[in-house]
């Protein structure tokens, strides 16, 4: 009997320890983490229940499950089965607590501002619409703007929407019955205003048949001096006259640019569209190395860009239209078709030419003595506005085929407002000159209707289903027709009255809000806003209408179709930006003395690498380990040069195979990541460590405790950031978190704030002369300071001696990388936070793709088919 009782007690005891996590804690953790000792500030004895302190219990669960705790060096360790039982029991309890704590299901939410812009764009078939800047910024949760709890709606939002819609309608509505006159002109640079000034001073040179054109001699002067001598000189007056003379001003010779643009408006094309629209821009460029007063071969090609500057903002950055490769001593034509707004001015910029602080015309010896890269522009052409049909599609979306007729004055109907047709004043009259008087002051025309309400009913019967992304009943159209009537009675013309109707439609909740996925139609909408960051098209809605979209094969085919469509580019760009925090790239400007190699062209390559990489991983279904060890990189010529990879030419991004030992290619080797986790001058292992933990491993680091003094970085070359951080790491209170946070950051110390590989820190103070000094096209004035130490130890104790070893460790944790990717993708796709309760489903999704190494494309498909996305039920 006694034995029976004893074994009962033992049995009960065993049950108790299996059921109660605190028993495990008491046995294995209280030695360091009880009320008295509180090692690292953690007191497990006083911890509340799972419900009360869910986040704490989750951390405990993860620390034990990941092998971080108890630390390996502790003598008595739990057995494997004890640990498994503890983790499993906690898992069950925490899943229950988490399910109770979080609202079930994806919630109704409003469109983000990018989604709003894309929705308007697609609805109105506008090639370009730039309105996000007019809208209020979205809140972010876990870094994502797609999450319902971050998307509030205030009167300010509605007011901003209305303004943005008016702007879109201004572009979309045709105000004339015939298409505007097409302007088509080839422009030679020598006669352009800004080019003329630069030709005079001598930082631009006149070239004919790839040699200096004798019509304007190469400028010399002050050969006996050194450095800055100024533009003035006895030759300047004559040069000025020569440049203005027909021999040069009307010449068809090329112009070679030896200096890049400093701020915006330098090499301006002197042309600005009168009418907004699509324009075909063409040019012919070539690259050279200027030496001995003439062009020479330059090996790798040079590069140039075209930018468009908003009216009145010629000094500021401008928006990039396209980049062009300029091969050595060989003219190459480039062409783009792009939307230009009215009065945007076009500017050319030879971005591969370095800037070393002075214009060539100000330096002793000037162009005659100058040595350096240059880009030549043979000619530039502009043709447009291109309107294959008239009125354009955007107009017919709003007004169908209703005629555009002269407005009949006399009645008390208020005429529609029209912008004056005008040219950009001063020295940019070009397109305006071609217009006839009648075209400059056209008759007032507007879309007209004999039976406005009936015509509107037909228009809305087509427009509303597209705007609301579902079928609409006849009764849903009525309120809008009533609004139309009210406005017509108030003497609006038909065009203005319909504008009110469209503003009302596009600020209606059916347009602004995305419902939770409940049936195939709402599923279609959610799918489109995931993979296109915009509204569904007719084909997707049709699949939804016949209730087949939720079927796995149909859903799979539609996803493939959406990803193959060009609109998926919006998803790749937007998801990469949000997931990997690429928006932070523009926050800093690298110190020009420490990082003179970083200029626009490198920045462009850096910014393009990561979204292209994400697209490649998903479309080619590459395994999760490719996130950090892909064996290839997405490079432009300039970026490849920066990375020390040979043989890549041209401005386009392309896939380049890399040797297996290369540190480049994966996210940890990408300059974008290095730059956005630095501050332009110094790197921070803490910032980088936080980024890796949060974005790559989905285990965000906790915030710093209050009152912690920040580190005061020192770039005078005497102390490294590692040495400075060590002071924090030796304090046991700080070490608790920093031991985990810093490790990836230290591994990445091998990369400087602009993503270059370094074995020594650059400094503006003490140090040795770098070997590259005198060997680059840009001026090197920094010195080399202390050595970089990229060794460290992971949370679970695994050590690495350098960056490469760290990358290998991370790559071997494939399943973890896959789970983190799915968690991040889920936040973006479902617009919901990922809670503890979702982990089981994420694990299941990941397990489905184990066979192909957790291919990222397969993971995306598996997520789309999972309840997490379809109905967010558990």
């Amino acid at each position: 009997m006694r034995k029976l009782l004893q074994s009962c007690a033992l049995f009960a005891g065993a049950l108790a320890s299996a059921a109660e996590p605190r028993v495990f804690l008491e046995k294995h953790c209280y030695e360091c983490h009880d009320k008295e000792t509180k090692k690292g500030g953690l007191d497990l004895e006083s911890l509340g229940s799972e419900k009360q302190q869910l986040d704490h219990w989750i951390k405990i669960h993860d620390a034990v499950a990941d092998g971080e705790m108890p630390p390996a060096k502790k003598k008595s360790q739990p057995t494997a089965s004890e640990k498994a039982a503890f983790v499993a029991e906690l898992d069950t309890r925490l899943t229950a607590a988490s399910t109770a704590a979080h609202p079930a299901g994806t919630q109704l939410r409003r469109l983000t501002r990018q989604e709003f812009e894309n929705s308007l764009k697609d609805l109105l078939a506008l090639p370009r619409l730039d309105i996000t800047g007019m809208l209020l910024a979205d809140g972010r949760v876990s870094g994502y703007d797609k999450i319902a709890s971050g998307l509030d709606l205030s009167p300010g939002h509605l007011a901003a929407y209305q303004e943005a819609i008016e702007k879109a309608l201004d572009v979309a509505i045709a105000t004339q019955s015939t298409a505007p006159r097409v302007y088509n002109k080839r422009i030679y640079p020598a006669g352009l205003f800004k080019f003329g000034a630069n030709l005079s001073h001598g930082q631009y040179v006149l070239l004919k048949d790839k040699q200096p054109d004798p019509a304007l001699p190469v400028r010399g002067g002050f050969e006996d001096k050194k450095g800055h001598v100024g533009f003035e000189g006895p030759d300047l007056k004559d040069r000025g006259a020569l440049v203005k003379s027909p021999a040069v001003a009307q010449s068809q010779s090329a112009v070679g640019l030896l200096n890049p643009n400093l701020a915006g408006y330098e090499a301006a094309m002197n042309v600005a569209p009168i009418f907004a629209g699509n324009y075909r821009l063409r040019l012919s460029v070539w690259g050279f190395r200027w030496a001995n007063g003439r062009p020479n071969p330059c090996g790798a090609p040079q590069a140039a860009v075209l930018r468009a500057h908003e009216e009145g903002k010629q000094q500021e950055g401008g928006r990039l239209l396209s980049a062009f490769t300029a091969p050595s001593m060989e003219s190459k034509e480039g062409e783009i078709v792009t939307w230009l707004d009215a009065h945007e001015s076009i500017v050319f910029d030879p971005v591969s030419v370095p800037w070393n602080g002075l214009r060539i015309g100000q330096v002793a010896g000037r162009a005659a003595k100058h040595v350096g890269p240059g880009v030549a522009l043979d000619w530039f052409e502009i043709e447009g506005p291109l309107n294959p049909v008239w009125p354009p599609v955007s107009h017919t979306r709003l007004f169908g085929q209703l005629p555009i007729k002269p407005f009949v004055p006399g009645s008390d109907i208020v005429p529609p407002r029209r912008e004056k047709i005008r040219s950009f004043g001063g020295y940019l009259p070009s397109m305006y000159l071609d217009l006839t008087a009648a075209e400059r002051t056209p008759k007032l025309e507007t879309v007209s209707s004999e039976q406005p309400v009936e015509d509107a009913r037909k228009l809305l019967a087509d427009f509303l289903p597209h705007a609301f992304r579902r079928d609409v009943t006849a009764s849903e159209i009525e309120p809008y027709l009533k609004l139309l009537q009210t406005r017509l009675e108030a003497k609006d013309c038909f065009e203005d009255a319909m504008r009110r109707v469209y503003v009302a439609i596009l600020t209606s909740p059916e347009f602004l809000f995305l419902p939770a996925p409940a049936d195939d139609t709402t599923l279609a909408t959610r799918l489109a806003y995931w993979l296109w960051n915009g509204p569904p098209d007719d084909a997707l809605l049709a699949a939804a209408r016949n209730r087949s979209l939720h079927r796995p094969e149909i859903l799979r085919n539609q996803i493939d179709r959406l990803l193959a469509d060009s609109r998926s580019e919006r998803f790749y760009q937007d998801f990469a930006r949000q997931w990997l925090e690429l928006g932070r790239l523009d926050e800093t400007n690298p110190d020009p003395l420490l990082y003179p190699e970083y200029r626009f062209l490198l920045g462009q390559g850096v910014a393009n690498e990561t979204p292209s990489f994400v697209r490649e991983l998903i479309t080619k279904d590459l395994p999760a380990r490719s996130l950090v060890k892909p064996g290839f990189a997405m490079l432009t010529q300039r970026l490849a040069e920066h990375y020390g990879i040979a043989g890549v030419t041209g401005v386009e991004v392309r896939k380049v195979a890399l040797p297996p030992e290369s540190l480049r290619g994966g996210l940890l080797g990408q300059a974008s990541i290095h730059k956005l986790t630095a501050n332009g001058t110094t790197t921070s292992p803490v910032k980088r460590g936080v980024w890796v933990s949060d974005r790559l491993l989905d285990s965000p680091a906790p915030p710093p405790p209050p009152g912690i003094s920040a580190v005061d970085p020192d770039t005078r070359g005497t102390t490294t950031i590692r040495e400075q951080l060590n002071k924090h790491r030796t304090d046991p209170n700080c070490a608790a978190c920093h031991a985990k946070i810093d490790a990836p950051g230290f591994a990445l110390e091998a990369f400087d704030p602009v993503g270059g590989l370094r074995s020594r820190y650059r400094s503006n103070g003490q140090g040795d002369l770098p070997t590259e000094k005198g060997r680059t096209d840009w001026k090197v004035e920094y010195k080399l300071g202390p050595s970089v130490d990229a060794s460290g130890e992971l949370r679970d104790g695994r050590a690495f001696r350098d960056t490469s070893a760290f990358v290998d460790l991370l790559a071997s944790d494939e399943e973890k990388l896959a789970r983190a990717f799915v968690a991040h993708l889920a936040r973006y796709a479902t617009g919901s936070e990922v809670s503890f309760a979702d982990r089981a489903e994420i694990r299941r999704i990941v397990a489905q793709t184990k066979a192909n190494g957790y291919g990222l494309g397969s993971l995306l498909h598996a997520l789309a088919q999972s309840p997490l996305f379809i109905s967010h039920s558990r």
Binding site: P103, G105, Q107, L108, R109, R110, L136, A137, G139, R140, V141, S142, G143, A148, D152, L153, S154, P155, G156, L158, A159, Q162, G312, Q315, E316, P479, Y480, L483, R487, A490, D492, R500, V503, A504, T507, P509, L512, P515, A516, E587, T588, D591, P592, N679, G680, T681, T682, P700, P703, P704, P706, S709, A710, V711, D712, P713, D714, T715, R716, N764
Partner: protein, 411 residues
């Protein structure tokens, strides 16, 4: 301080109602909050132990009895370096964290209380280049950062330029049209509310409230549309295109703010003076400001940054002088305007958000002192805000993370 100012100030301490009877109607009290996102170098701003002034405060010497400076103030829980800019007036904690939610800012609370009687309940104004963290420090109740106006020309038009009769008629039509649209949406929102489930209802309720609020605004706009705008003896400015002309741009904005307050177009103004992405046109300055703030203790960079910060303080000093020169019933504009000037960064080089450099000028407080709070365990900055609220006549004993009013600051 001249005799008249002194009398007014003394009277204000004794019995305000009596003074109000004696004088012509006193001008209203105003709030002007100026945020300098990149901070001021602490070594030059804060007086050293035992000293009364500092190199930067010396630049404001002629106004010394008009302002108070503080050390040892910050918002508890507000970290995240530059992200803290959006919390400068709200004190909402952990702005850098993914779970951050902002809260109502000081100026918007004041606008709620005092904004009814002016054309603009508040004005948000900025000097900036590009979109950055702290272009605006005004935050609505729902945690949304409100936009700020960076164009002097547009601001002037809004404040002082009446439309032509055609423009007015067009505006009236627009308001009427806007009203019709809102009617439709209100109706929709009411119907939708009935049919949706509780979760969704909360979201739709925000929509509903927003429509109603817009309706109210429309009514107010209508009323103001019929009232003429004030006339000022100041020509319409043209925007300064070069963003590096930060000093000139600041001058211009300060002028317009002064005119806006003087004409009672508004009583609440926030102004953000950002030098992010700018190489200020100041002699000896060749580098972009933010890069300079990460000087790494290099003397050359510190010297260059100092030139920029001193130039900014010089403009501020001129603004204070202009406010003092603006006569009003019972005194001058500075007496009736609280001017807050400070930064979310205590030390831009280390990105510290503690020990913020703060100046409070005007508003009828007793100035001329430097108030020292604990630089290791800071006092909540919101305590200063509570003192300011009370001085403005707003009934409040708490704001954000305050623990009371600010010790040592007296009206």
């Amino acid at each position: 301080m001249n005799r008249r100012d002194f009398l007014f100030a003394a009277g204000a301490c004794l019995a305000l109602p009596a003074l109000a009877k004696a004088a012509d109607k006193l001008p209203p009290k105003r709030l002007l909050a100026i945020h300098v996102p990149l901070g001021m170098m602490p070594a030059f701003f804060f007086p050293k132990a035992g000293e009364a002034s500092s190199p930067y405060l010396d630049l404001l010497a002629k106004h010394r009895d008009q302002f108070t400076t503080f050390s040892g103030l910050s918002h508890p829980g507000v970290d995240g370096n530059h992200h803290a800019g959006q919390c400068f007036l709200s004190g909402a904690p952990h702005p850098g964290q993914p779970t951050f939610r902002n809260s109502l800012s000081l100026d918007q609370l004041v606008a709620e209380k005092m904004g009814e009687d002016t054309r603009f309940a508040s004005l948000g104004v900025a000097v900036r280049q590009g979109e950055h963290y702290a272009d605006s420090v005004a935050v609505s109740r729902s945690g949304v950062t409100l936009p700020s106006e960076a164009s002097a020309e547009k601001l002037y038009r809004r404040l002082f330029v009446a439309g032509t009769p055609e423009e007015k008629a067009a505006t009236m039509r627009r308001i009427a049209a806007g009203g019709s649209v809102l009617d439709l949406l209100l109706d929709k929102a009411k119907r939708l509310e009935k049919s949706s489930d509780p979760q969704d209802r909360a979201r739709l309720d925000q929509y509903f409230q927003s429509i109603r609020e817009l309706e109210t605004r429309l009514q107010r706009n209508l009323a103001w549309e019929n009232r003429p705008k004030p006339k000022v003896d100041y020509p319409m400015p043209k925007d300064i295109a070069d963003a590096n002309e930060v000093v000139a741009r600041s001058h211009l904005m300060f002028d317009l703010v002064r005119l806006a307050l003087q004409t009672d177009s508004t009583r609440v103004v926030t102004l953000s003076l950002s030098t992010f992405s700018v190489v200020p046109h100041v002699p000896g300055v060749k580098n972009e400001t933010h890069g300079l703030t990460h000087h790494g203790n290099e003397p050359d960079k510190i010297a260059e940054l100092r030139k920029i910060e001193e130039a900014q303080l010089a403009v501020f000093s001129e603004m204070l002088a202009a406010f003092r020169d603006t006569r009003e019933t019972g005194g001058n504009l500075l007496d009736r305007t609280q001017v807050l000037y400070g930064s979310c960064l205590g030390n831009a080089n280390s990105h510290s958000n503690q020990n913020l450099p703060m100046i409070l000028a005007g508003g009828g407080f007793r100035h001329g002192q430097h108030l020292n709070f604990d630089t290791v365990n800071n006092t909540p900055l919101a305590n200063l805000y509570v003192s300011m609220l009370q001085n403005l006549g707003v009934e409040a004993d708490k704001f954000a993370t305050s623990t009371g009013t600010l010790r040592g600051l007296r009206s």
